[in-house]
């Protein structure tokens, strides 16, 4: 009882800290968001042909999300390493899996906010359509995919945080892992939009895959994060 309360407190402290720093520094809002928006707008321009646009809408949304993931993960750990706060966290003797959860949730929330904007812009710029059933699918897909990305981003971010030169490994490690998420989320989103005649039901299979992904990295990350940043 005592122990689990302690853990919840750490999770929320880390979560609040990360979100508060973002609220102050506005890195995601001012850097990532405009860029993600630019990708959407540029494509609307480049392929101004509704058919093609609707086909690529799903892929673009998730491509933009994954770029943002890289930037946000790097930022999320830069906050902690710039003045050696990560060391202080390590000697605080707290449950590092709670730190993992706190950071992962903060990351997930930022990605979600981003996706809402991206999807809204897809409606505006690409004239995609969504049915009520599709909307449920879409929301579930965004939730599962961003959660998975949040977990995996935090895990590998922690692995590569700190020592000089290690950061440069991050994309190499993340790329192959997030590629399945990109594909699954794209297909699920396409199913939700009904683009290319995909059926909504097909989408749920992909969401299942996303859920498995999130679960694997959620559990794996909680277990591995401590030992990893701990050495």
């Amino acid at each position: 009882m005592k122990k689990s309360m302690g853990k919840g407190r750490v999770v929320s402290a880390v979560l609040i800290k990360d979100l508060r720093i973002e609220a102050r520094s506005r890195v995601v809002t001012n850097q990532v968001l405009p860029f993600a928006g630019l990708i959407m707008i540029m494509f609307a321009f480049a392929l101004d042909n509704d058919d093609v646009l609707q086909r690529v809408a799903g892929g673009l949304i998730w491509l933009a999300t994954i770029f943002s993931l890289f930037v946000i993960v790097q930022r999320s750990f830069a906050i902690d390493t710039v003045d050696a706060a990560l060391d202080s966290l390590r000697v605080a003797g707290i449950d590092l899996s709670a730190v993992f959860l706190g950071k992962a949730i903060a990351l997930t929330l930022q990605l979600m906010a981003l996706d809402v904007v991206l999807i809204a812009s897809a409606f505006l710029l690409y004239q995609v359509q969504v049915s009520a059933v599709g909307l449920v699918l879409l929301v579930t897909c965004v939730t599962c995919a961003t959660t998975g990305l949040g977990f995996v981003g935090t895990l590998y971010g922690g692995l590569t945080a700190g020592t000089n030169g290690r950061e440069t490994l991050l994309p190499l490690l993340l790329l192959p892992v997030v590629a399945p998420v990109l594909i699954a989320a794209t297909r699920a989103t396409e199913a939700a939009f009904g683009s290319g005649g995909a059926a909504t039901s097909e989408g749920w299979a992909w969401v299942g895959l996303l859920t498995i992904f999130a679960a694997v990295f959620g559990i794996g990350g909680s277990l591995a994060f401590g030992p990893l940043i701990d050495e």
């Binding site: 290690r166 892992v177 794996g220």
Partner: protein, 249 residues
């Protein structure tokens, strides 16, 4: 550091020599049978012979990555974190990456002959490429600086996560409609659609590649041990140097 007293001059043992000879014999049989004895395919013609390399190398790459994962698990979950497991994990991953590269190369050559393109954005091909990159990443993590224990711990975590991609590659032909050959041999329904001698040659290839794999891993983990010992010895000297520096002051 009990090993440092043992005299080590080469990485071979009686066992590796036997395995080596066996590997050579089996591989010679595969070459003869694959190139001469087996018939050409009705559809694919002579190019089907690439299969005797392509398929075994893919499977042995899987095996190598699974061995890496198992050794990593032993490293992490055993009470005494033994670096021996870490070396086996690393050696196996290196050899696995090599086999995966062979798969990619033979696959794209084969693709050129059957599809007319070296590369297609096909699920099996793409997931294979991702698997390959993942293990390049694994090797890069092993290359990070830090102590041997740190290296072992970090890379073990990556190995245990990376191995989960193998089912994704294997079932990618099922998940997505794929250009690539579906499961012909490891067909879930169990009916093998292949000529007897072809099948035997293919499995000979698998056996031969397995022997090569074992031989390489045994040697590689020995060289890793030796280089760890060399580092230890270098450290001995560095410590003495630093202590002398302090005595001078």
């Amino acid at each position: 550091m009990s090993q440092s007293s043992r005299k080590v001059s080469n990485t071979g043992t009686q066992a590796t020599r036997v395995i080596g000879v066996l590997a050579i014999v089996v591989m010679i049989w595969v070459v003869v049978s694959g190139l001469v004895l087996t018939p050409a395919d009705v559809v694919q013609g002579e190019s089907v012979r690439i299969m005797y390399v392509h398929v075994p190398s893919a499977w042995i790459a899987y095996v190598a990555f699974i061995v890496t994962a198992i050794a990593s698990a032993f490293y992490i979950f055993a009470k005494r974190h033994s670096l021996g497991f870490d070396r086996v994990a690393g050696a196996s991953a290196e050899v696995g990456v090599m086999f995966m590269a062979i798969t990619l190369i033979t696959g794209s050559l084969w693709g050129r002959l059957t599809w007319g393109e070296f590369w297609q954005w096909d699920p099996r091909l793409t997931t294979t490429a991702f698997l390959f990159v993942t293990y390049i990443g694994y090797l890069a993590v092993r290359g990070l600086d830090g102590s041997t224990q740190q290296r072992a711990k970090r890379s073990a975590v990556v190995a245990l996560l990376a191995v989960l991609e193998i089912p994704l590659v294997h079932f990618s032909v099922v998940f997505w409609r794929s250009l690539h050959q579906g499961a012909t041999i490891l067909d879930p329904n169990g009916d093998v659609k292949m000529d007897g001698l072809m099948l035997f040659t293919l499995f000979s290839g698998v056996v031969g590649f397995t022997l090569v794999f074992i031989w390489l891993v045994l040697h590689r983990q020995r060289t890793m041990l030796l280089s760890d010992l060399a580092i230890e010895r270098g450290l001995d000297n560095a410590i003495l140097e630093r202590q002398n520096e302090s005595a001078r002051n």
